[in-house]
Symmetry: C2
DNA sequence: GCGGCGGGTGACCCGCCGGTAACATCCCCG
DNA sequence: CGGGGATGTTACCGGCGGGTCACCCGCCGC
């Protein structure tokens, strides 16, 4: 046998820098989602990408930074969706429906990437907390803006109401995900947005006619 | 003075087992709340109790178990309060008000012990996840029971609605805590329970299951 | 063919921290 | 008083895992 051949086992064809980076991010996301930040080892991530550890460090300065990159991506994803739901229509009921749907879609995407945002095990890290808080605040702000405009609530009240609605959407979306199969996505979204809408419409001084 | 004495600096008078255990739990809670599970070192906890590390291990088999003990305490605390809110009255509006109040009080107690439940950085641990989930499920269940009885919703719908309400309460309570000072506890509770009540009352007096 | 460079590797280092072994002290009880 | 069982202490171990060093290939232009 041509045993002289030095195991040319090209494990993974070489990749240009950009492609490798993306692949590493993908691998990292899978591992972080599956095990959380602390339980995830850089070796795991490298292994999953079919590559050795130093490669990882050629692309990212450290574990934390790698994690932050992924986290920011997801935070942006969610806030964008919520903002779109607010901007995409003038009908407040539609807005509520869209926002609730945004949370459900977010939670149901990407093999659980939402865990990075909603279940991060690195919230004690200054940067992580800042990022997550910024995302939450952005969502609350977007919603509170509408509430404030249409009900004349004080800013503090509007923020409280908005935060409550985000909590409603987030928590029910996660519950639905855990119980998946019993209720369809659209059913669940309709149900929860009905709940939210009945709550927030006809609040203090809303001239929006109550839905029949 | 009797300087010959080799530093008899009795740092903390000896304590009987029970008292020491409580003190250690208290110290541990403070450290875990402040830094989270991972960032907390057993030395930190021992130090805070004015005691050396082995003492800790005479009372608890390990870091994880110590954490679990505290976690369970808090989970029980919350679920009990929610259950009481459900059982304490027959008036559903009162029930909502009580439950929302329970979340606000829980979040506002004990120097932030609620973080153990709502912001645990050990959710990847099987036992921790089980405990936290069990607590959430208990709260949702208690609320869903009432919803189901009074609206005739399907169990799945009732659970979804209930989980949404817990999310509403939890998230707004945490928001209120972060913004403390701008709105009083009672104001906030009234506002949020009004939101929840407007939403859940006069809910589909179940005009038949929407057969999707 | 050959130099150099981008892409990649195996092996190693080392600090932190959970956990432990061995030794000291106090106080009660007979 | 003196033995013994709680109660505590100092000092140490060991491994896990983030991060790095020195080196290796294959391809490209000349």
């Amino acid at each position: 046998m041509q045993s002289s051949r030095p195991v040319p086992v090209r494990r993974t064809s070489r990749l240009p820098r950009g492609a490798r980076r993306l692949q590493l991010l993908q691998a990292a996301q899978e591992v972080f989602v599956a095990h959380g930040f602390h339980a995830a080892a850089m070796d795991d991530i490298a292994d999953r990408a079919g590559v050795s550890k130093p490669v990882l460090y050629q692309h990212f300065p450290g574990k934390r930074e790698l994690y932050l990159a992924l986290l920011e991506q997801q935070v942006t994803e969610l806030t964008d969706r919520v903002r779109e739901a607010m901007a995409g229509t003038e009908d407040n009921r539609q807005r509520v429906h869209g926002a609730v749907g945004a949370y459900f879609d977010f939670v149901d995407a990407d093999g659980g990437a939402f865990r990075l945002v909603f279940e991060s095990d690195l919230r004690n890290d200054e940067d992580v907390r800042t990022l997550v808080d910024r995302g939450n605040r952005a969502c609350v702000e977007a919603i509170a803006e509408v509430i404030r405009g249409d009900t004349g609530s004080s800013p503090e009240q509007a923020h409280l109401l908005a935060s409550g609605l985000t909590g409603l959407a987030e928590t029910s979306a996660r519950w639905w995900l855990a119980q998946k199969g019993t209720v369809s996505r659209d059913e669940a979204v309709s149900l929860m947005s009905a709940l939210a809408w009945r709550g927030i419409s006809r609040f203090p001084r809303v001239e929006g006619d109550p839905p029949s």
